[in-house]
């Protein structure tokens, strides 16, 4: 399927050096810029997807402020904070991964991708084991599953709907990101990325930053209400 053009592609070098843009682009930079713009448009759709959760949050908090305070009080700020730190570090490593790819440092690229993926795994594990599971056991669940007998506000099930809804959609994005990072790592090990071709690293990196950015807003809005 892959064909290389003999006139323009140097015979030697890595896959990334030999890469030639798809036929409808002028050159690799043209392709890179176009893909990047596509990724930014995709990111804006992601932001507007989460916008729904944020608007739902704002309206329901406006209607039932006490329920949100009571519900937020039952979250563990420690785990939330730890998860924020984990995600921020992963955001840094993915930025470093892009930098490594730009500089052609294959080892550093793989290292940063692995660390990012480990952080992502840590995030999901913390979320599931230390946050979701205890709450599930106590019955602090959304809507009709709510069975926690010690609620202090009758609207608390709504709060749990917002909490689980927004964090679950966010966690889904983290898990998708883990898949993408793994894909990047496999390609990086094959030497697919270099200073002249790192479009995929850049795109996934941007996606990962948006996931981080959403959490930057979710953390104070969910955990730090009083």
């Amino acid at each position: 399927m892959s064909t290389l053009h003999a006139d323009h592609a140097p015979s030697g070098g890595t896959y990334a050096d030999r890469y030639v843009a798809a036929a409808h682009f002028r050159d690799r930079d043209h392709e890179f810029e176009s893909v990047k713009m596509g990724v930014w448009l995709f990111l804006s759709t992601e932001i507007l997807l989460f916008a729904g959760m944020f608007v739902g949050y704002a309206i329901l908090r406006m209607l039932h402020p006490e329920a949100f305070i009571a519900g937020s009080g039952k979250l563990s700020t420690f785990w939330g904070l730890l998860n924020t730190v984990v995600l921020l570090i992963s955001s840094w490593t993915v930025a470093m991964a892009v930098r490594s790819a730009q500089l052609g440092k294959q080892g550093a690229l793989q290292f940063h991708l692995i660390v990012t993926n480990l952080c992502a795994t840590a995030f999901v594990v913390i979320k599931l084991v230390f946050e979701y599971y205890p709450k599930w056991q106590e019955g602090k669940l959304p809507g009709k599953w709510f069975s926690y007998p010690y609620a202090v506000d009758p609207s608390e099930p709504l709060w749990w709907g917002i909490y689980f809804g927004s964090t679950a959609i966010h966690a889904t994005h983290v898990i998708i990101g883990m898949g993408l990072l793994t894909w990047l790592l496999i390609r990086a090990r094959k030497g697919h990325f270099g200073p002249h071709h790192y479009t995929a690293v850049e795109g996934v990196g941007l996606y990962w930053h948006i996931v981080d950015m959403v959490w930057i807003f979710l953390f104070p809005l969910l955990y730090l209400i009083h």
């Binding site: 810029e33 804006s44 840094w92 007998p149 807003f217």
Partner: protein, 226 residues
């Protein structure tokens, strides 16, 4: 989107080789910048937690009733600063084609319109005819019309004999002893609350009216029923 948005799109017809290198397209951000940004982000993360604790201290320990918007305003300002840092440096918008920033700006304008107008409506719905928000009952009438789910959950626990009144009066966040006289909800307490009367069986917990709970109220409650 204006005509000068993309100066490169119809520039000279570049040969589609790998050699074309636009320094504006590929900016390598220095590791020092990235690391500094990470450090700032971490500092801001702890700052936002610290600010929330400080607000609690002011409200519950000193007893000064902060208005509800302070919590949201502080949390969101810090989050916005963090998000801007991530966008500018990690996501490289500072160095990038301005078109991508424009995409983000349009996206945020759509978000602002979504949030703004929805809140305008649901926040002002009772401003002319007060009855228009009366139907918003805390906790609702229940799925089968037999009471809020939180109340039903408590009833069920009492029937099952798993209800522990001691536990109900305790909560999960640590607040130093002797400082529990503030008007916070029980979720803020680690010790038995003085004077807490458990809601009567079968009835919704006492509704907390806007007049009585200045603290922790992020927005004026439209459901307050003036």
């Amino acid at each position: 989107m204006s005509s000068h948005a993309d100066p490169h799109a119809h520039a000279a017809d570049h040969p589609r080789t790998h050699g074309h290198w636009n320094p504006h397209t590929h900016v390598v951000v220095s590791a020092r910048t990235l690391t500094s940004v990470l450090v700032i982000l971490l500092v801001f993360t702890f700052l936002t937690v610290g600010a929330a604790k400080a607000e609690q201290f002011v409200m519950y320990t000193i007893g000064f009733p902060l208005p509800g918007w302070v919590n949201v305003a502080v949390a969101l300002s810090i989050a916005v600063v963090k998000a801007v840092l991530v966008a500018m440096f990690f996501m490289q918008l500072k160095y990038d084609n301005p078109m991508n920033s424009l995409v983000m700006i349009f996206c945020l304008m759509a978000l602002a319109s979504f949030l703004g107008f929805t809140m305008l409506d649901l926040g002002q719905r009772n401003s002319i005819y007060p009855f228009k928000s009366e139907y918003i009952v805390p906790g609702g009438t229940g799925i089968k019309g037999d009471g809020p789910i939180a109340t039903l959950a408590r009833q069920k626990a009492i029937q099952d004999g798993t209800y522990d009144p001691e536990h109900a009066a305790h909560a999960h966040k640590f607040i130093p002893p002797g400082q529990d006289d503030g008007p916070g909800s029980s979720a803020q307490r680690s010790r038995p609350l003085k004077g807490l009367t458990l809601p009567e069986l079968g009835a919704a917990p006492p509704a907390k009216h806007a007049e009585h709970s200045e603290h922790g109220k992020p927005e004026p409650a439209p459901a307050g029923g003036h």
